[in-house]
Symmetry: C2
Subunit: 455 residues, 2 copies
């Protein structure tokens, strides 16, 4: 019988996160203060984040030990399983070997729990009683709700309205774990109220929900802010995915030729690829192909500027050097709510700039075709976000079919789509359509990118 799953024993779960900053061929550009245009210091971030996370943001240690309290919770669902997608390979009739690392077995259903638990822990340790955050598709909000429930921290989630309406189960999930969830724009903040005045039916965006959550955190002493992607410490926490996968691919006696992941803010993608990047940077595997996949309708990596920009619509965050479509850009209401973000993690942007990864953009209908091909072969119902990566994994497998090459494709499968079935239903009834690249909206938003010289 062919083995199709590789379990990693719990005693072999990695006990360190990997900090790629130490191994980058060129250092990351600094984060700038929006007022002064100068690099920010730890104290500038202290109203938002606990000091431990701020230190991780700029750490010069290669390995950061995972605290025991976090390991203990990781062990309720980790290590996650590495699968070989034999049935998909057969359905595609490809010589390619497709592996997928599946984060959907976390209680919250995605990779997001890896950092949610860590962030809740460090906040609790610093005496914080309440955390405010935003969520797109709801994966992050429900993960943080659960993370906070483990450490008895209150949680308030601003959920992008279009997703809030598309995915009612996500809200119930957050409430089950004790969090409070409101649709964004909400009447609870200035940023929300202003938007509602201008555009009462605004579908919301991650950038706007971030403004609301940041404002909430700044305005209350007992409250911190928490971000589910983009920042260095978030990608750091996600590296446990890649570290586990390295061990599991070894168990499977395989090494990837291609690694594929979807990108919203870049944390799932980063979590998988950063550990593998060591081999690419060190020259051990220079031709390892690493592909990020984003929606055609929100194509920051393929069409965005590499520039200093805000993380949120209202311009409240520090300035990050990243691929961006402009912080005021509100992406079309695609079903992959988690990918509706104007910017990209500085680390991922930097790697792209250095030519270490390549970026692709795909259309929504192709994404759902891929989701159904996966569901009908492997059985797994994937999140629409993840299905972006599935689409490109299938594309690459089909190229192998043409060329006859038996490439090894590793897919970062970020989570299940059990709460996205409304979208699946729309696909079945032919209601999923493509959105073309919103050229005019992006052009306008690009003009709002602040004029900051890169040193």
């Amino acid at each position: 019988m062919k083995r199709s799953m590789w379990f990693l024993d719990q005693k072999d779960m990695p006990v360190n996160w990997y900090n790629i900053q130490v191994d980058l061929p060129e250092p990351l550009p600094p984060v700038l203060h929006p007022g002064t245009g100068k690099p920010i210091g730890p104290e500038d971030l202290a109203p938002l984040f606990p000091m431990e996370l701020i230190k991780q943001e700029v750490s010069t240690e290669r390995w950061i030990e995972i605290p025991e309290e976090i390991q203990e919770i990781y062990l309720t669902w980790r290590p996650t399983v590495l699968h070989r997608a034999y049935k998909l390979e057969k359905a595609l009739d490809t010589p390619a070997r497709i592996y997928y690392k599946y984060e959907g077995t976390s209680q919250a259903g995605s990779h997001k729990l890896n950092t949610a638990v860590a962030q809740a822990y460090y906040n609790k340790k610093e005496g914080i009683k309440r955390i405010a955050t935003e969520t797109g598709a709801g994966q992050w909000g429900s993960a943080l709700a659960m993370g906070c429930s483990f450490f008895d921290v209150e949680c308030k989630v601003y959920m992008v309205r279009i997703s809030h309406d598309q995915k009612p189960y996500r809200r119930i999930l957050m409430e089950t774990w004790g969090a409070k969830c409101v649709p964004s724009p909400s009447p609870d903040t200035n940023a929300g109220r202003e938007m509602l005045k201008k555009w009462p039916d605004c579908p919301g965006s991650l950038g706007l929900a971030i403004s609301e959550a940041v404002e909430d955190a700044i305005s209350r002493d007992d409250t911190h802010y928490s971000l589910g992607s983009v920042l260095n410490h978030v990608l750091l926490h996600q590296t446990i995915i890649g570290e586990e996968t390295i061990k599991q691919m070894e168990m499977a006696d395989a090494y990837p030729d291609i690694i594929v992941g979807c990108v919203g803010g870049g944390s799932n993608f980063g979590g998988m690829i950063l550990p593998w990047m060591r081999d690419k940077i060190s020259g051990k595997k220079p031709d390892l192909q690493i592909i990020s996949v984003e929606p055609e309708s929100c194509p920051k990596m393929t069409r965005g500027k590499y520039a200093y920009d805000f993380g949120d619509v209202a311009g409240m965050t520090p300035l990050l050097k990243m691929h961006t479509l402009g912080h005021t850009f509100i992406p079309p209401a695609i079903h992959a709510g988690g990918l509706r973000y104007h910017g990209m993690a500085p680390i991922v942007s930097h790697l792209n700039r250095l030519g270490l990864i390549e970026a692709r953009a795909v259309h929504q209908t192709g994404v759902f075709d891929a989701a159904f091909a996966f569901a009908r072969s492997e059985g797994v119902i994937s999140a629409p976000e993840t299905s972006h990566a599935i689409k490109v994994a299938i594309d690459e497998a089909l190229k192998c079919k043409e060329s006859g090459e038996a490439k090894t494709i590793l897919l970062a499968h970020s989570g299940h789509g059990h709460f996205d079935l409304t979208s699946y239903s729309k696909y079945l009834s032919g209601e999923i359509t493509d959105y073309s690249y919103p050229e005019e909206e992006v052009r306008k938003a690009m003009e709002e990118i602040p004029d900051v010289a890169s040193e």
Copy 2:
């Protein structure tokens, strides 16, 4: 770091199902023909089931080899994980040790896939093109939809209407895997049409949906019927759960004092307990406590008759000796749709009769209290059916707290509740209520139990 999950390597997955019939202290009463009152022969069942399954129904082999084609599909999600519920233990402040075997990671979300794959396989092998079935909560229907999609067999599902309306995502799931799903009572069969005439708003019941599916299968040459529980071959396929768990408890260096599982038709419960029953029957562990849990509103094990009765409302099936509330009984519309069945697997009924297991009935509000306690400690969102077992596991753990005993409790966790969040939402808004034992309805239904002498 304390280990909290035990993976069983794929090479150690059991390759045989266990047939308890060989080891029963007394043989099972025969299945009777409803017309003649005599034991049925294989040919009587041939219009409904493939011959291989009919043979398994009365097999005298202790071990039945799992065909390679089925093993291969099992390996896409099996072996499933055994968990230690440390966080729940801590929340309850109990000295008890709680383990749970989690079937929720199957692509269809529950244990049902174990037999769905097997049934689809044997039907396909016999040249059957189409399978009709019923489903309560939708766990079975979606599992069979997926099983059929693996073997390219058409699938038609009659879904109990109350569940169909409560759980729209389940229908989408079935359609995603290519099945057709209609609410039952439906206008597609005589049994459905008759009920709709008498009671247009009928919420449906498993017994009625079975009538529809059986009628569908009988009326078409290319179609067989498939049942997701109750029958011997279904419990047989589920024994892989218990066989895996025995190996995993050994890995954990533990042995259960108490095993708990919920019962609808008895397949999840049977799948877990039958392999353990060997130790109890052989005298190796005579005091092993095995508890079945059912709803107060549908209490066949605790209040039903042990008698020959039909499996369906319309009286189309052979007569099974079992605990029954009467085949015409329509249970109240509790949220655990999978437990709304009037009868109980003959094997489980027989074991109860022999005093080898004990039965408990619990109320719905307590069940949801338990579901929330589990979700807020372990993080896992459980199906309302499963939560019946969680309720009793918690009760037993709390008894240990009082007595100071450190008993080992093994919970059969049959599946996740990702498609049951409407019920969770109702709990949060205080809308979950208890149904008292429907004494009058049961009394009436009991009168309809056919008058058949036991042998």
